[in-house]
């Protein structure tokens, strides 16, 4: 399944960007032969919010980001934009983005992307479960002056 649709690519790039760098390195230790098109560059992205959550956009503050682009020897080009300042994280994500356009896609999906996705979901579920355990029902008491 060499899915190059924008949606599939969008999803996998998000998965790779949000993966803990050490975990990605463990699952994908060796980069394939590649040519670096854009060396990992550390910079900032201005994060925007909306007035009243739904209104006009405003600048909230920046976050650190690293981006990189690579081309495989077979010609596929991969890009990565990842939070933080980990250069190898960006390179790995870019190389995987390129490899996902080759015949290795199915194997990489099973070995790397699926585990990263399920671990991310497990982390989110673990937090949501703790949050749910602190859900309360307040009830109002009858006050003296109401009698």
């Amino acid at each position: 399944m060499t899915d190059t649709s924008p949606l599939a690519r969008k999803t996998r790039m998000a998965t790779l960007a949000k993966a803990p760098p050490a975990r990605l390195a463990a699952l994908f230790p060796d980069l394939p032969p590649h040519h670096v098109l854009r060396r990992p560059e550390i910079g900032a992205v201005m994060v925007r919010g909306r007035v009243g959550a739904t209104g006009a956009a405003f600048n909230l503050g920046e976050m650190t980001v690293t981006r990189a682009s690579v081309r495989l020897e077979t010609g596929e080009v991969g890009h990565a934009w990842v939070q933080g300042r980990d250069r190898t994280h960006a390179l790995r994500a870019a190389a995987l983005d390129a490899l996902m356009q080759t015949g290795a896609a199915d194997d990489l999906t099973a070995r790397i992307l699926r585990p990263l996705e399920s671990e991310a979901e497990a982390r989110q579920t673990a937090r949501a479960t703790k949050a749910a355990a602190t859900k309360v029902d307040f009830f109002t008491m009858v006050r003296g002056e109401d009698k």
Binding site: P6, K18, V45, M46, R48, A57, W81, A128, T134, K135
Partner: protein, 390 residues
């Protein structure tokens, strides 16, 4: 004005070396690591990120260590670092309605859809010192398993699930199908037309890190300034409105803390990609409003959004935001500091304030020499006049 001085290099070097020694403290005590600060001093890290206006927990932890715990000095280090970073892009506005919520409470609706979620809060604690935290070496007291299958917090995230544990309701269950979207409280009031609406706009907002702030500022610029402003200053401004200096009758409509994805349009690809996740605190106040020449009686809103977990700052920000909107809503200016845009915006930045305040300790020898000459001259004249009169 202070002037350049020469000399003192050796004294300065020695002072910095001593600073490094004092920073380390007693060598018999283990040195703090960056992960320790990041994980165990998380709220200090959050404050440095918010006021440094750069989301990067590791860098904020490093700044706190380097600054010996002086948070404003740490903010200064982060602000200095961020000026070295190229601006790669601006994100799409974050969707706080899609926040993975750790905490979400409302002081206006007790039965709000999606529920009240306390999260890891200091509220309802007794504020008694917990001496158990002082007992080094003892294993932490095991936390009883909360009802509903919640797990006690541990140092590592467990990926295994106990099949016997009862299924726990997901936060926001029943809203928006699959993804647990949690509706904002103000949207309930919106439905009845009882509260002003915030109409979406994707106009490029002004950026005070790029263009010097000009007054009058629009609301988007004010929110940027408040989001990076000093927590103590904004708290005091908000408190002053509660005590009557520009009263706005605020209720916390909703306060939520959690993580949101940050999405950026990638020019190489032509579509947007989530590049990471950040923790945010959001507060919306609901304010009584009797109506004005231009607006019908309805509830109005104040908004606060802060990086990290920082509910004191988010609540304070939303009060100050509302207070600064007096002109837009046709209210009277009562002369209260929290209504005065120039007063608030020009004094809320602790790095600007520290810079100007502390510069007076730097050599002002030439200035002072001139002052000294002047005072001597005036004294001599005064003495001469008194003598002449006698």
């Amino acid at each position: 004005m202070y002037v350049a001085v020469k000399g003192g290099e050796r004294a300065i070097d020695n002072a910095h070396q001593w600073l490094a020694e004092e920073r380390r403290g007693a060598p018999t005590v283990p040195e703090l690591t960056i992960p320790q600060i990041r994980e165990q001093m998380a709220l200090a890290v959050n404050r440095v990120m918010a006021e440094g206006s750069l989301y990067d927990p590791d860098l904020a932890a490093l700044a706190i260590k380097q600054a010996r715990g002086d948070l404003i000095e740490a903010v200064f280090l982060i602000r200095a670092y961020r000026t070295t970073l190229p601006r790669l892009a601006a994100s799409n506005p974050v969707d706080t309605g899609g926040m993975a919520v750790d905490r979400r409470i409302s002081a206006t609706f007790k039965d709000l859809p999606g529920g009240q979620v306390l999260g890891p809060t200091f509220d309802y604690t007794h504020r008694l010192l917990d001496f158990a935290l002082m007992a080094e070496g003892d294993p932490p007291t095991p936390i009883p398993s909360p009802p509903g299958g919640g797990e006690a917090p541990g140092p590592t995230v467990s990926h295994t699930h106990d099949p016997k544990a009862p299924p726990s309701p997901r936060v926001g269950e029943g809203w928006g199908g699959g993804a647990p979207r949690i509706p904002h409280v103000t949207s309930f009031l919106n439905r009845d037309g009882l509260i002003e609406t915030a109409n979406p706009s994707d106009a490029t907002p002004p950026d005070l890190t790029r263009e010097p702030m000009e007054l009058p500022a629009d609301r988007t610029l004010r929110l940027q300034a408040l989001a990076r402003g000093d927590e103590g200053f904004i708290l005091s401004m908000a408190y002053s409105t509660q005590r009557g200096y520009g009263r706005t009758h605020a209720f916390v409509g909703e306060l939520r803390i959690g993580t949101v994805a940050v999405e950026v349009d990638i020019p190489e690809l032509g579509f947007a990609v989530e590049i990471g996740e950040i923790e945010l605190t959001e507060c919306e106040t609901v304010n009584q409003f009797k109506g004005s020449r231009t607006e019908p009686p309805q509830f109005t809103r104040g908004y606060g959004l802060v990086m990290g977990q920082s509910e004191r700052k988010a609540i304070a920000m939303s009060l100050v935001d509302r207070s600064l909107r007096w002109q837009e809503l046709g209210e009277d200016f009562t002369g209260a500091p929290a209504q005065d845009e120039e007063f608030v915006l020009m004094h809320c930045d602790n790095i600007q304030a520290t810079g100007f305040l502390e510069h007076i300790k730097l050599p002002h020898y030439v200035d002072f020499q001139a002052e000294l000459e002047l005072v001597r001259k005036l004294r001599a004249e005064a003495v001469a006049m008194r003598e002449a009169a006698e």
